[in-house]
Symmetry: C2
Subunit: 103 residues, 2 copies
């Protein structure tokens, strides 16, 4: 099932995961390949990829002995739209209160 809003944000609330995502946004690669270019162990990266996969932010495709991951934008866009909606609601309410106080 689709993760909740806090869960999505938590998945994106880690620097290492953003490092991984930026790489995967430029080029699809395996966990071992990521471990070669990032300053953390492969196992750490695997755990992060699990989180990202759970959040629907990456796809995994098996190619023989390796698993190639790629960044997936659709969930990020969906999250963005929801956050935008909520942000607008808050500010709309604030503007309404303000005009009420001034009027």
């Amino acid at each position: 099932m689709t993760p909740t809003l806090p869960e999505m944000c938590a998945a994106l609330g880690d620097q290492t995961r953003w490092d991984i995502l930026t790489r995967l946004g430029q080029e699809a690669m395996s966990a071992s390949a990521l471990a070669r270019v990032l300053p953390v162990s492969r196992q750490a990266i695997v755990k992060h990829l699990d989180v990202l996969s759970e959040a629907g932010l990456v796809t995994a495709e098996r190619r023989g002995r390796e698993i190639v991951y790629a960044a997936l934008g659709s969930r990020l866009n969906a999250l963005a739209h929801e956050l935008d909606r909520i942000g607008n609601a808050w500010d709309t309410r604030l503007r309404a209160l303000k005009s009420l106080a001034e009027g």
Copy 2:
């Protein structure tokens, strides 16, 4: 200074903070008032409010002996736009690769 992308997401990556934000999005209130309606102590709420304030997601206004907080949408909208931009970039790249493979 303005918090980084992972920092913003981390601030939003907690259920209790969303509980607080939702309340503050409907009605501005103090930490003590929040502690009355949420199942956590006032001190816990104060810490969360510090995080949210640091992220620019709430405003704090002193009114005599109490401090009234309100949810602020602008930072959330800014974050949303950035996430949307990044999501589009990822998918654009994927579509380019796909059409390259097919063509």
